[in-house]
């Protein structure tokens, strides 16, 4: 039995309704006792009762479908909303915001008349079921979000987490996910400029596939997802509507996979039980949609626009109508929706998640021009309804009224304050610091470095990133494996934007508040390393089941950490996405907020790379190194250990470091800059050597008295930079005036990573270890 019939069984009306009459509003009013499959659609008794109360009757099958998807966790944020409110930017955080949380994606003023919009979104569950298409459509969805703001999408990023690198199922999921992102993003002509790749057993049944898109527009181009203007036309354009992913949003992303998908194998147990009809991406159509929309925007032909994502037509119509205000309603004729499968019922039309569709509000006078632009791009466009002044969303089908609701009641959805409780085990975890034996000096340290460098988390990601076009559009100044991606926005003024995403599930497991701030700090630092000034934040909150009070505590702590962190840094959260129910049976993933930071670069010609490029340059470690190994890569790789407390966060120090790098980069003082994060100084040095093709000779004494701590501690707020000898004094003075501790530890030289008094590793050996891991695992 395939997933489609599963999903349809839940929706029930199909066969049943064909036999009866259409379930119209009149029929529903006349048959109050008719049984409805609200549970199968993921609604609770209370929610169902609430719908009946709102409508003063039982909902029709179409209305029930509409409410069920709109009130799903995925669309309504019903469990997270009370916490997300804390993220609303305040005071100085709002200075540069042109649109904030609540819009499809937040919009930031970057100066010179330009605005930037960016957002990160999850496609975790679909990517486990069908990795290639799941990941591909994840990219497609976030790109349409950005497009709906009126911006031209200019780049994507992908943050990925999988089960153990050598697990059987990872060999199915990872290559599929990467090929899906590659297929879709490359075909769309959007450069992929960075992301993340990491592995942990907690993600075995729940890989995380988070995709980010960034778009650029002029201030005047900003569009709103609002229906307005009595008599204006509602136009559905793009792909036809088929049975794709019917029930996907509500069923799949709002509950855990049943059964024990321990090996995670599809076809047995877990995923198969709730497999919906899979959405297949058509990136070519999306490319046409992008160009078509941008031409429509340029011609001022749309009054309001919304992308169709999860919950498709149901979501676009209700949100557009609700966005228009209390008086605004909408009348839609579902017979006019162009279908790929003519047998779809109204409920299925509303729930379909067919990809590559948009909905626009167009004045009657411009409808002709609108159609002409769509025809030029071979994009099918159909008027399916119009804006009314009665405050009601009305839908008809085959002569009957199948939906008649106040749209805001569906758009707003319920809000739950779910119970939360700090798990008792947190204290044990915190007490269980990494107290195991540490390598002393020389050979054991060398061995530890190579083991870390060759571990799947820290190894060269080229096997993945070589499948991504990072340079299409010709504005990519920095991309992976650099700390942050950097894009040129204006060829004449050299204005640019930088982006990085970071998250560390291990830190967050130990302390979700600190862990989230560490992720924020790392993304902030990575953006700063390019020479850019961090300006805004997006986030994707990947957590387990909200019905688990421990998970809710993690979520609340993470959001609190993010809100406090952004307030301290003075930058706003402009949007994001929440993905819950990431767990297999009772096993939740590590709490994994993924934080994206956007920065502005005043002159991309002054960009800074991570590689040791300049021979004889002085190598300087910035920031303070403490003995901080809780949740570290060393504890994980060398001992499979997770415990203790994560490194301390000092956001003021991060700000000072970022400020120093920006000023030094603008002054041309930096030959390279690379932040320190997973694996500490050891890994940063190895990466800078390999990236630049130059070796180095260093002393650790001024970093920390213990060589091990100097090499592997993961203290935050640090970076390793190189400065030409003749500029070293100037830089030292600058660092001092910024209040950033700076220790000169050696020089760029030779073709080995040489730590004086400890060890010497030829670059060839480093390269072989670093580059060999992923190809050995994935072919």
């Amino acid at each position: 039995m395939d997933g489609l019939s599963e999903a349809r069984k839940g929706i029930a009306p199909r066969g049943a309704l064909e036999a009866r009459n259409t379930d119209t509003v009149e029929f529903a009013a006349a048959t109050p006792e008719a049984e409805q499959p609200f549970k199968e659609l993921g609604l609770t008794e209370d929610e169902y009762a609430k719908i009946r109360q709102i409508l003063g009757r039982r909902p029709t099958a179409a209305e029930l479908a509409l409410y069920s998807v709109m009130w799903s966790e995925h669309c309504s944020y019903k469990s997270s909303k009370v916490h997300l409110r804390n993220l609303a930017p305040r005071g100085a955080q709002t200075d540069k915001l042109l649109a904030g949380i609540g819009a499809n994606a937040g919009v930031v003023d970057i100066g010179q008349g330009y605005a930037v919009t960016f957002k990160i979104e999850s496609h975790n569950h679909p990517s486990f079921v069908e990795p290639h298409q799941g990941a591909a459509t994840g990219v497609g969805g976030i790109v349409r979000d950005i497009l709906a703001m009126g911006a031209r999408p200019v780049a994507v990023m992908d943050a990925l987490r999988f089960g153990p690198a050598d697990a059987h199922d990872t060999a199915r999921v990872l290559p599929g996910v990467v090929s899906g992102i590659s297929f879709y993003g490359n075909c769309l002509g959007l450069p992929n400029i960075g992301g993340e790749l990491s592995f942990d057993p907690c993600y075995a049944g729940n890989p995380l596939v988070n995709a980010l898109c960034v778009g650029v527009m002029r201030h005047a181009d900003l569009k709103a997802a609002v229906a307005s203007g009595l008599g204006n036309k509602v136009v559905l354009f793009g792909s036809r509507t088929g049975p794709d992913g019917v029930g996907g949003a509500s069923v799949l992303a709002s509950s855990t996979f049943a059964g024990d998908a321990e090996d995670g194998s599809v076809g047995s147990g877990g995923a198969a039980a709730k497999r919906p009809s899979v959405q297949v991406g058509d990136p070519f159509m999306e490319k046409l949609l992008i160009e078509c929309c941008l031409e429509l925007f340029a011609g001022d032909l749309v009054e309001g626009i919304q992308d169709l994502g999860a919950a498709g037509v149901a979501c676009a119509t209700t949100e557009l109508a609700a966005g228009g205000g209390a008086q605004v309603g909408m009348r839609v004729d579902l017979d006019l929706v162009p279908l790929r499968d003519p047998s779809l019922t109204p409920a299925e039309i509303l729930m379909s998640e067919s990809q590559e569709r948009m909905m626009a509000i167009v004045t009657p006078g411009k409808a002709g021009e609108f159609a002409a632009v769509c025809a030029k791009w071979d994009v099918e466009a159909t008027v399916i309804g119009e804006v009314t002044g009665d405050g009601v969303l009305t839908m008809t089908w085959r002569g009957g009224t199948v939906v008649s609701i106040p749209p805001e009641t569906a758009a707003d959805g319920p809000v739950y304050s779910r119970p939360l409780a700090r798990p008792a085990a947190q204290d044990e975890l915190a007490a269980d610091g990494p107290a195991m034996p540490r390598p002393g000096d020389g050979a054991p340290l060398r061995q530890a470095l190579l083991a870390l460098l060759g571990s799947a988390d820290l190894a060269d990601k080229a096997w993945v990133t070589q499948q991504y076009d990072a340079i299409v559009r010709g504005n990519t100044v920095l991309a992976m494996p650099e700390d942050g991606g950097l894009l040129r926005v204006d060829e004449d003024t050299h204005l640019g934007i930088a982006l990085a995403t970071d998250g560390n599930g291990r830190y967050c497991r130990l302390d979700p508040y600190l862990g989230t701030q560490l992720a924020l700090a790392e993304a902030y630092r990575n953006v700063a390393m390019t020479g850019a000034r961090p300006m805004a934040v997006t986030n994707c909150l990947n957590f387990g089941s909200p019905e688990d009070p421990g998970v809710m505590w993690q979520l609340a702590e993470a959001v609190r950490g993010l809100a406090d962190g952004c307030a301290t840094l003075g930058i706003p959260v402009t949007g994001g996405n929440v993905s819950l129910y990431n767990q297999t049976g009772q096993m939740a993933i590590h709490p994994t907020p993924v934080i994206g930071v956007l920065g502005v670069h005043d002159d991309v010609r002054r960009r800074v790379s991570a590689g040791f490029g300049a021979n004889e340059a002085t190598i300087i470690v910035l920031g303070e190194t403490r003995d901080e190994l809780g949740g570290s890569a060393w504890a994980h790789v060398a001992h499979g250990h997770l415990g203790g407390i994560p490194p301390a966060v000092d956001l003021a120090a991060e700000q000072r470091l970022a400020g120093l790098i920006a000023v030094a980069a603008a002054a041309g003082l930096l030959a390279s800059a690379h932040d320190l994060s997973d694996g500490g100084l050891a890994i940063a040095l190895a990466e800078s050597c390999l990236r630049g093709g130059n070796g180095c000779s260093i002393d650790l004494d001024d970093v920390s008295p213990q060589a091990f701590t100097a090499l592997f501690s993961e203290s935050a707020g640090r970076a390793v930079v190189t400065v030409r000898p003749e500029q070293a004094a100037e830089f030292a003075a600058l660092a001092h005036s910024h209040g950033v501790p700076a220790a000169a530890i050696g020089t760029v030289t030779g073709d080995s990573l040489q730590v004086n008094g400890q060890f010497d590793i030829p670059l060839d050996e480093l390269a072989a270890v670093w580059q060999g891991t992923l190809p050995a695992l994935f072919g």
């Binding site: 769309l188 002509g189 070519f284 046409l288 991504y468 990072a470 340079i471 299409v472």
Partner: protein
Amino acid sequence: MTFPGSLDDQDAARAVRYAGAEPVALWHADRDLRGVDAVILPGGFSYGDYLRCGAIARFSPVMGSLVPAARAGLPVLGICNGFQILCEAHLLPGALTRNAALRFIHRDVRLDVVNAGTAWTSGYAAGQSLTVPLKSGEGAYAASPETLDELERTGRVVVRYAPAAPNGSARDIAGICSAEGNIVGLMPHPEHAIDPLTGPSADGLGFFTSIVSAFAGAGAAR
């Protein structure tokens, strides 16, 4: 030239500008070549490349004008998807097939200029080494052994991967030309190597300056 699904068209236009000429946008649905001196078919995924790369673009209305013009001597450069379209349109022999590893490859490659006598490579010296990006999933050049022999014998291999093709291309061929040398197709992207700020080098600019100076020298344009 922009087909539905062309992606590197703006990059090709930028490269033309960098070379000192004026880019003119051509649209697949117009038969009109607008009196241009030379045509670049850019990279991308025309029509999604769903059937075979370049297979559907070949039937675009503009190709009805381009094919005879190219046969009559109009200089044409096909980059990546443009190369695939030229092969599908039989303006160049052979075909581009799946990369040997069956994955999309994006990386910088080294090319040796084999033929510096074409309209698009006259600014280079034979044997010169270039570093430019390659980014394609179906970049492995394939042709019958007779065709390959013929191409080599008549100097129609324009650029070669050095030291070896990363994608399984026959005889490490990265680009070829027509018998007259006016039509050149290659898989790597010279338009993405025109400025060290955004590419690995400026080595690719020579393709564009070659053609511009050919016209400047002949007094034929600008």
